[in-house]
């Protein structure tokens, strides 16, 4: 019991700090990557290659004067950053990030809390994040903030459904909502991205929308709403929204790696998931997990600095008219296919089943892309002039 408590506490501490440092580095990475895309240098003055820039930014934000609007609802105004900050961090708790670590006192699973309800917990907690944004928008007593908050709530609720639906496919295949079991399944067969390609596409798009990143950053659309829901925030409160956004990115990337890319699994070998746990295995799997997460984070940044922003109605149309029906019909088709393979053919999940499902997915994906490309999704709202 003592061992459990102590190891859990240490894990919490380490994970929390890693995420905070990761978020700090991510802000730097974002600025350096976008600078790279835009033919410029980016921040490189503070420390070698600007590595201390996040520290300088953090210090600046702490030292800045904090203002709050006179007509704002003080309690909610203060509460909002916390409400958006905490869920962003708490969700990471159930994601396994490496193979178990052997210690003198016993084997420590490398996940803060391997909840049996794993994924349901993530869905539940990540929905809480929207409260922070809506409260911020409402409590600021500012029209721009209000519009931003409203947009955020509509957007996050819409895309949450599509996101949840796309993960149902994962759960169908894994037969379990515990994330460590989801990973174990993928280690024995193929990564779920192959049998569930379309599910991954839906999840990725929804995750972009969930984290309010371009092209879905309407709640804070700079050109329209100044800064959206955090227009009135300054100093550390603003920072907390910022950190929340980036930790959401980290969590979403980690989740994509876990659900679709085998989590901490090292591909093409069973060395990492069979036999006794060793420290080397833990370290290497941790590296594999970080690398996968990093790849998604990089994609996030890449997408952000490439695409323009959607319009509000287009965003809603994409969420409700495309992603949701798509996710629903996808589940139906996939459930049928899985039932057929499991019950009629009698295979369990393995490479054979994965490849058949991959075939199904490729057909669906081609059909989808062909249909999307008909110009029905994003189009102008006015009629063609006569």
């Amino acid at each position: 019991m003592t061992f459990f408590l102590v190891s859990s506490f240490i894990k919490m501490f380490v994970v929390f700090n890693l995420i905070m440092v990761g978020v700090a580095m991510l802000t730097l990475l974002e600025r350096r990557v976008c600078a790279w895309m835009q033919d410029r240098l980016g921040p490189n003055r503070v420390g070698p290659q600007g590595i201390l820039q996040p520290a300088a930014d953090g210090l600046k934000n702490i030292l800045k004067e904090e203002t709050s609007p006179a007509m704002a609802d003080k309690t909610l105004f203060t509460l909002a950053p916390l409400v958006s900050f905490v869920p962003a961090l708490v969700t990471f708790g159930v994601i396994p990030f490496a193979s178990p670590l052997p210690t003198r006192w016993g084997v420590v699973p490398m996940v803060v809390a391997d909840l049996p309800v794993g994924f349901l917990y993530i869905l539940a907690i990540s929905s809480l994040g929207v409260y922070g944004i809506v409260l911020a928008g409402w409590a600021s007593n500012n029209k721009y903030a209000l519009l931003g908050g409203l947009r955020a709530s509509a957007q996050m609720i819409s895309y949450e459904i599509a996101m949840g639906m796309s993960t149902v496919a994962v759960l169908l295949l894994a037969g379990n909502v515990t994330l460590s079991q989801v990973i174990a399944q993928q280690q024995h067969g193929l990564w779920f991205v192959l049998p569930l390609t379309l599910g991954f596409v839906i999840f990725f798009v929804s995750a972009l929308a969930e984290t309010n990143r371009l092209p879905f950053d309407l709640p804070e659309a700079e050109a329209e709403l100044i800064a959206g829901y955090h227009t009135e925030y300054s100093s550390m409160k603003f920072s907390m929204f910022y950190i929340a956004e980036y930790s959401n990115m980290v969590t979403a990337s980690a989740l994509m790696a876990t659900l679709f890319f085998g989590g901490w699994d090292i591909p093409f070998t069973h060395w990492d998931d069979t036999g006794d746990p060793t420290v080397l295995k833990t370290l290497l799997t941790l590296a594999a997990f970080s690398l996968k997460t990093f790849a998604f984070l990089f994609t996030y940044i890449w997408v952000r600095w490439t695409l323009p922003r959607f319009r509000y109605d287009q965003l809603m149309a994409l969420g409700w008219k495309v992603l949701l029906p798509l996710a629903l019909s996808y589940i139906t088709i996939l459930a049928t296919a899985i039932w057929f393979i499991r019950v009629q053919i009698g295979w369990l999940y393995g490479p054979g089943m994965a490849l058949i499902l991959l075939g199904v997915n490729v057909v669906l994906l081609v059909a989808l892309v062909w249909w999307l490309d008909r110009g029905r999704i994003v189009s102008g709202i006015a009629e063609e002039p006569a």
């Binding site: 100044i226 319009r311 709202i381 002039p385």
Partner: protein, 424 residues
């Protein structure tokens, strides 16, 4: 009587969505305004807002996020240039023209100088003509680059902005080489130019004309066939050719609506009829077509620049008339006659005969007109600018009403306003 009616009573005139005269408040009221408890919400966009390109203020009445009415309030950057001009010699007015459309100063300089020369009946030299064409087309490129960059930012694409601004920097370097100033160039003088181009200018500009299309191609690739970009801009802010003409629009705004009117082709000046370039015409008159027209115009400007560099003749840049052109400093110090002319010009200015002159040139933003009335002295009695972006802006409420707030931003960006010129 509701709060809103009182506000409307007290305010400045405007026209509502149905074209009826109505009023909106000029100053913010301390008491709560139409807010959550009512159907519509008044949102004040600007004068300090990231997407109003300066100090434009738009009072927008929103129904949800749909624009019911949009009323531009102007004048935050009013400098009284036209009135100031009445107290300046013709050559002293030229620095004022830098500051009207400050995104294409050289082109403004040329426009004013042409009007003054028309008033005085001065014929400029062939080299000066070609150099002025180069100045105009350089201005067009930087102005369109700023437009492209800021519009893409307004629509959320940040990266093309920096690509565009890098090209603009190159032209700014050239302007600095030529005139010593990057922004306030004051390039022209009545009857000539401030200075001839320096050594190395032609090579540097040639280098630019070779590398510039590559950046245009990159911007084209990242935006034109981008579904999000097309979705945000196609069918937004549509104006038919008829409406565009009725609103007296000019420049890319007019051409995007399908009217092939380009001052350079239709009322040629500076020998534009001898250059080989195309007038770019859109067909839908929406934001997307305005984008395409401007993008393609950059290619055409590049073509004109290449042709102008090829034909650039040698010879003097100033007319040989000591009553119009200042003698060189050395000559003024050594030659008696030159000193007298120098003194007379500095003290009295260049006199224009009694009469009036108007000349319109194709500025990047539309037809820039300069109208001068002279009573025979060295200062104009009246100097009037036809500001293209002011007139183009007048169509904004028409285009924006019924669209979403996000579209209003896109439409406003597509007008390509520069407040220095709108407010003058």
């Amino acid at each position: 009587m509701s709060k809103r009616v009182v506000e409307l009573e007290l305010a400045t005139p405007g026209v509502d969505a149905q074209g009826r005269a109505s009023r909106v408040p000029l100053t913010a009221d301390r008491a709560p305004e139409p807010g959550l408890d009512q159907e519509h919400m008044l949102v004040n966009i600007g004068p300090q807002h990231p997407a109003t390109h300066g100090v434009l203020r738009l009072v927008v009445e929103l129904d949800g996020e749909t624009v019911v009415r949009c009323i531009p309030h102007l004048g935050y950057l009013h400098s009284g240039f036209e009135k100031l001009g009445e107290y300046r010699h013709y050559n002293q007015i030229i620095p004022l023209t830098d500051r009207t459309d400050y995104l294409s100063p050289m082109s403004n300089n040329v426009g004013f100088a042409l009007a003054a020369e028309k008033l005085m009946g001065v014929e400029i030299t062939p080299r000066c003509t070609v150099l002025r064409v180069i100045a105009c087309e350089m201005s067009r490129i930087i102005s369109h680059m700023v437009w492209l960059g800021t519009t893409s930012i307004d629509l959320g694409a940040f990266t093309p902005f920096l690509w565009a601004f890098q090209q603009r920097e190159k032209i700014y370097d050239l302007q600095e080489m030529w005139t010593g100033a990057r922004l306030t160039t004051s390039l022209t003088r009545v009857g000539g130019l401030l200075a001839d181009i320096p050594d190395g200018f032609v090579e540097k500009l040639r280098d630019f004309t070779k590398t510039f299309p590559k950046t245009l191609g990159e911007i084209d690739r990242v935006l034109t066939r981008n579904a999000v970009w097309a979705g945000r801009t196609q069918g937004v802010g549509t104006l038919t050719a008829e409406e565009a003409i009725n609103y007296s629009l000019s420049g890319p705004m007019l051409r995007a609506s399908g009217v092939a009117y380009d001052v350079r082709k239709d009322k040629p000046y500076l020998g534009y009829e001898t250059y080989d370039f195309d007038v770019i015409v859109g067909e839908h008159g929406d934001v997307f077509d305005r984008y395409l027209v401007r993008l393609e115009e950059c290619h055409q400007s590049n073509r004109i620049l290449e042709q102008a560099l090829d034909r650039l003749p040698d010879g003097p840049i100033n007319v040989d008339d000591p009553k119009v052109i200042l003698p060189s400093k050395t000559l003024a110090m050594t030659d008696m006659e030159a000193m007298i002319f120098h003194f007379k010009q500095v003290m009295e200015g260049v006199k224009a005969p009694v009469g009036e002159a108007y000349i319109g040139i194709e500025n990047p933003k539309g037809e820039l007109g300069n109208y001068l009335v002279s009573d025979g002295t060295a200062k104009p009695v009246r100097w009037r600018i036809r500001p293209p972006s002011f007139i183009n802006l007048s169509a904004l409420p028409k285009m924006a009403e019924g669209h979403l707030l996000s579209d209003l931003i896109a439409i406003n960006a597509s007008v390509d306003i520069v407040m220095g010129e709108v407010d003058r």
